[in-house]
C-alpha cells in the first residue's frame, strides 16, 4: 500500500462527465485543468464515466504509475457511488478512506443552468475536496455481526410473503401484527384482478403456513413498543395486548361465542366493515390466523364491569382458555434486521362530503362492496342496498376518491381503476345492474390489466370519462325520484350529465396509516412528504431505507397492488437474507475518539451522546468513547470545548480546510 505522507500528499483528481449529465452543464475539461493547478495535485483528468470499469481502472493505474496517495472524484452524490470509488482506491492499493467525493451532478449540473456559474461551482467544490483529502488518514474498516433473526412488522400479504420466504430459507422470523389475525386487507377481498381468482383461495394457505411454520413466531394483537440498537443488533420490545384468551389452550371451537350472554351480535364487525354485527367474544373470520377467538375489552361486560354471568367461561369448560386476568405483556427480542410491511389505510370517504358518504345510506366505499360481493360476507354474496333486500338496478362507481386531488391526496392510488373494474364486473355479475364507471383516466398498466379493461367494455359496463362533482338527492325530473343523482361532465361527449343510480360506490384511494409518522420515528427511517416510508433510492434500492438493516415492503412504501407487493416482499426478504448470509456488515469508520492528553475531563460530551457511547474514566479523569457504540454523528466533537475529541473522516482539520478552500478564489 502507498503510505500517505503527511508532508507532501500526491493527489489524483478525476472529473466525471457522466455522459452529458454533468458535461452538458459543467465544462469538465476546464475543471480538470484548473484542478491540476491546486496544491499537491499530481494528476488531474476528466473522463466520460468514472464509475465504469475503465474509469475505475484509470484511478487504479494512476495510483501505481504516479504513486498517488489521495484521490478525489468529482461526479455524482457520495450517497450513490462513494462505495464504488472507495473500492476502486482499495483495488489500486490505496486505503479506501484516502478518498473524497465531490457531488457535481445532483448538487450542480442537475440544478443549475449551463454556464460559468455551474463550472465555477464545480471548481470550488473540487478545490475544497483536494484541500480536505490532504488531511485524510488511512482508516481501518470495522464490521459488526448480523444477528440471524428477523422481525417483520405487519401481517398483510407483504409481511406474510416476506416471513415465509425467510422462514423457508431457515431464518427465524418474528411476525408482529396489530390486529387479532394476519391477512390484512387482502383477506377482505372477494376476487383479485385481473385474473378474478378468489383472494381467500390464494391467501389462506399462506396464512396457515405462517401459523404452522416452525421458524415463525407469530404475535398477533401485538405492537412494537420500542426499538433500540443498530444494524445486526436490534433490540425490539413488543407489546402483546391481552386478548383474554390463552392462545395455546384455545382450539377455536367458537363455543364461547355461542354461549356469550349477547344472543346476537351487537357491535360493528370490523372485518365486514361494519356491515354486520359481532359479539364481544368473537373470531374475526373463519380462516383467521391464529384460529382463536378474542375478547374485545371495549364491549365485553365482564372486562368493563366484572358483572357478567361469564357463560363463555362455562362453555369453555375444562379447556380453561379464557383468562380475564390477562395483562399486556412485554416481550423483548434481539434481531439483526427488520422488515416493515405495515401497509396502508383506505381514504376516509367522509372527507369529501359532496360524495355523500355517511349522508346517503346507499353510498358505499369499495371495501364495503368487497364484503357485499363476498360469498362469506354479511349478505352471503347478495349485492343489496342498505335496506338489506333491494337489488340495485343501476350502480355508479366513482374513481379517484381521495386520489389525484390537491385537497386530499395528490398521488394516484394505482389500484382503484383496476379494483373498480373488478367490482363493476362482480356487481354486474351478481345483479345485472347497469354499472357506470366515472373515471379521470383509466390506469391499467399491468400484465393482463388492459385486457381486463377491454373485457369490461365488452360486458357493457359504462365508462364515463369525467370526475364526479357531486352525489346528491335533489331532483330535476321524474326519473330521478328516490335515486341518488351523480352530476358529472361526460368529457368525451362534451356536456354535463345527471345520472340517477340506486347505489354509489366510492373507489377510495390508499393513504399512509394515521400513525405512520410515529412508526417511522420508532424505526428511525424517513417518510416522503406524503407520509409513505421513504426508500433509499427509488430505482436502485427500493426496499432499503436510510437506516441499515431496516427494509420496507408493500404499500407502506406507496400504493401498490398485490403482485407488486408480493414481489417487493420477496425483495426485502432477499436483502435481509443477504445481510444474514454475509454474517457481518462493514461500518463507516467515522467514529469519534478522545485524545486523552488533551481532555480536561469536563464531561460536556457525555450527555451529548444518544447511544451512551461516552463515559468517564474515573482514574484518569478523562472521557472515553466506546467506538463500538459510536455512530459517528459528531455532536460530541462539536461540543468538546477543548477540541480533544476527534472524528474520523469528519475531523476539524478536514472540515476547516474544506471551508477555507471552498471560499478561496
Amino acid at each position: 500500500m502507498n503510505e500517505p505522507t503527511k508532508t507532501q500528499p500526491r493527489i489524483g483528481v478525476y472529473i466525471c462527465h457522466c455522459g452529458t449529465n454533468i458535461a452538458g452543464v459543467v465544462d469538465c475539461k476546464a475543471v480538470a485543468e484548473t484542478a491540476a493547478q491546486y496544491p499537491n495535485v499530481v494528476v488531474s483528468r476528466d473522463y466520460k464515466y468514472m464509475c465504469s470499469d475503465p474509469g475505475q481502472a484509470l484511478i487504479q493505474q494512476d495510483i501505481k504509475e504516479h504513486k498517488l496517495d489521495r484521490i478525489v472524484v468529482s461526479s455524482c452524490s457520495p450517497l450513490l457511488h462513494e462505495h464504488t470509488f472507495r473500492g476502486a482506491c482499495e483495488k489500486g492499493g490505496l486505503n479506501p478512506y484516502c478518498f473524497q467525493m465531490v457531488n457535481i451532478r445532483e448538487h450542480d449540473s442537475w440544478v443549475h443552468e449551463k454556464g460559468a456559474a455551474a463550472t465555477d461551482k464545480a471548481k470550488d467544490l473540487t478545490r475544497a475536496a483536494v484541500s480536505r483529502v490532504a488531511h485524510h488518514k488511512p482508516l481501518e474498516t470495522k464490521t459488526t455481526p448480523i444477528h440471524p433473526d428477523v422481525m417483520i412488522v405487519g401481517g398483510g400479504i407483504a409481511g406474510i410473503q416476506a416471513a415465509l420466504t425467510l422462514a423457508n430459507a431457515g431464518q427465524h422470523v418474528y411476525l408482529v401484527e396489530r390486529e387479532p389475525t394476519i391477512g390484512g386487507y387482502m383477506a377482505k377481498f372477494d376476487k383479485t384482478f385481473p385474473t378474478l381468482d378468489c383472494a381467500a383461495c390464494i391467501l389462506t394457505p399462506k396464512m396457515s403456513a405462517v401459523g404452522a411454520h416452525p421458524n415463525i413466531t407469530l404475535w398477533t394483537y401485538s405492537e412494537v413498543a420500542k426499538v433500540d440498537g443498530f444494524v445486526g443488533n436490534y433490540k425490539v420490545v413488543v407489546k402483546r395486548k391481552p386478548r383474554y384468551i390463552i392462545e395455546d389452550l384455545c382450539v377455536g371451537c367458537n363455543e364461547c361465542v355461542t354461549a356469550c350472554v349477547f344472543k346476537e351480535g351487537k357491535f360493528e364487525d370490523e372485518f365486514n366493515m361494519g356491515l354486520s354485527k359481532r359479539k364481544p367474544v368473537y373470531m374475526p373470520f373463519p380462516q383467521a390466523t391464529p384460529p382463536i377467538v378474542l375478547i374485545d375489552p371495549e364491549t365485553c361486560i365482564n372486562v368493563k364491569t366484572g358483572k357478567c354471568k361469564k357463560t363463555c367461561v362455562e362453555a369453555c369448560g375444562d379447556r380453561q382458555a379464557i383468562d380475564f386476568t390477562q395483562k399486556a405483556e412485554m416481550k423483548e427480542v434481539q434481531v439483526g434486521t427488520i422488515i416493515l410491511a405495515t401497509g396502508f389505510q383506505p381514504f376516509d370517504a367522509k372527507r369529501i362530503p359532496q360524495y355523500g358518504y355517511g349522508i346517503y345510506p346507499n353510498v358505499y366505499t369499495s371495501l364495503e362492496i368487497e364484503r357485499l360481493v363476498n360469498a362469506s360476507g354479511p349478505t352471503e354474496g347478495h349485492v343489496v342496498l342498505r335496506d338489506g333486500k333491494t337489488k340495485p338496478k343501476s350502480v355508479g362507481i366513482v374513481h379517484c376518491v381521495g386520489s389525484r386531488d390537491n385537497k386530499t391526496h395528490r398521488w394516484c392510488s394505482r389500484v382503484c381503476c383496476m379494483y373498480s373494474m373488478k367490482l363493476a364486473h362482480l356487481i354486474k355479475h351478481h345483479t345485472d345492474a347497469e354499472v357506470f364507471n366515472f373515471y379521470i383516466d383509466i390506469r391499467a398498466p399491468g400484465k393482463g390489466y388492459e385486457e381486463f379493461y377491454e373485457k369490461l367494455q365488452e360486458e357493457g359496463v359504462h365508462f364515463i370519462r369525467g370526475r364526479v362533482a357531486e352525489v346528491t338527492d335533489w331532483q330535476m325530473s321524474k326519473e330521478e325520484e328516490g335515486k341518488l343523482v351523480i352530476r358529472v361532465e361526460d368529457t368525451l361527449a362534451g356536456f354535463v350529465r345527471r345520472i340517477p343510480v340506486d347505489m354509489v360506490v366510492l373507489a377510495v384511494g390508499l393513504e399512509p396509516h394515521a400513525d405512520s409518522q410515529d412508526v417511522r420515528r420508532q424505526f428511525n427511517i424517513s417518510c416522503s412528504t406524503e407520509g409513505w416510508f421513504l426508500e433509499r433510492h427509488p430505482k436502485l434500492a427500493p426496499v432499503n431505507t436510510f437506516t441499515d438493516g431496516i427494509f420496507i415492503a408493500g404499500a407502506c412504501q406507496g400504493p401498490k397492488d398485490i403482485p407488486d407487493t408480493v414481489a417487493q416482499a420477496g425483495a426485502a426478504a432477499a436483502e435481509a437474507l443477504s445481510l444474514i448470509k454475509a454474517g457481518s456488515i462493514e461500518l463507516e469508520p467515522n467514529t469519534a475518539f478522545v485524545v486523552a492528553e488533551e481532555c480536561s475531563g469536563c464531561k460536556t460530551c457525555i450527555p451529548m451522546c444518544p447511544y451512551t457511547a461516552i463515559s468517564r474514566d474515573d482514574v484518569k479523569k478523562v472521557a472515553v468513547i466506546n467506538e463500538a457504540l459510536c455512530k459517528g454523528c459528531g455532536t460530541c466533537v462539536a461540543a468538546c470545548p477543548s477540541g480533544a475529541i476527534k472524528q474520523n473522516l469528519f475531523d476539524d482539520d478536514e472540515i476547516t480546510s474544506e471551508i477555507e478552500a471552498i471560499l478561496a478564489k
Partner: protein
C-alpha cells in the same frame, strides 16, 4: 458597503446533514429543480456536528451567508442531534447579531429527505436576501482595517538604519 465589482455574486456556504438535507438536495437534483448556483454544500453526518467555529470561519473566509440544514425536530437520524443544533444556533444567531451581521446571512432550516423543493425554495430565497444586503467580504474588510498599519510599519523598519547586533 459599496459593491466592489458589478458582477459580484453572493457566496453561501451550507452545512447539510447527511440524512435529511443533503439527501433532499440530492432529490432536488434528481428532480432537476433549478436553483441559484451560489451555494456550496459541505456535508456533515449530522447538523449536531456543526461546530459554531465553522460558521464564524466561513464568514471570516469570505462567505456572504451560511445556511444550516438538518432533519426536522424529532426526525434526527441520531435521535436528537438536531436539538443540540437548535440550542447552539439559537445562541449563535444572537451572537452574530451582536457582532453586526444581518440576520438574513445566517439561517437554520429543517429540511427532510423528501423536501427537495424546500432546498430550492430556501436557497433561492436566501441568495436573494443576501444579494439585497450586498457583499459581506470579511477578508476585504480585514485588509481595509489593517491598511492603517502599513505606513508605520514601513517607517519603523526602513527609516531607522540598521544597527547590527554585537557591534560593541
Amino acid at each position: 458597503m459599496e459593491t466592489k465589482s458589478n458582477n459580484w455574486e453572493p457566496r453561501i456556504v451550507a452545512f447539510f446533514c447527511n440524512w435529511c438535507t443533503y439527501t433532499a438536495a440530492d432529490l432536488a437534483g434528481v428532480s432537476r429543480m433549478k436553483y441559484a448556483p451560489n451555494i456550496r454544500v459541505i456535508r456533515l453526518m449530522c447538523s449536531g456536528r456543526l461546530d459554531p467555529q465553522y460558521v464564524m470561519m466561513a464568514f471570516a473566509k469570505g462567505a456572504d451567508g451560511v445556511l444550516i440544514g438538518g432533519c426536522h425536530p424529532g426526525d434526527c437520524h441520531y435521535v436528537e442531534g438536531n436539538y443540540k443544533t437548535l440550542r447552539r444556533v439559537t445562541l449563535l444567531e444572537r451572537m452574530l447579531h451582536d457582532l453586526g451581521l444581518e440576520k438574513e446571512r445566517f439561517r437554520l432550516e429543517w429540511i427532510s429527505a423528501s423536501e427537495g423543493d424546500k432546498v430550492k425554495k430556501v436557497v433561492n430565497e436566501m441568495v436573494e436576501q443576501v444579494r439585497a444586503l450586498g457583499p459581506l467580504d470579511m477578508p476585504g474588510r480585514f485588509a481595509d482595517w489593517d491598511k492603517e498599519m502599513e505606513e508605520l510599519e514601513a517607517h519603523v523598519n526602513h527609516s531607522q538604519k540598521e544597527i547590527p547586533a554585537h557591534v560593541h
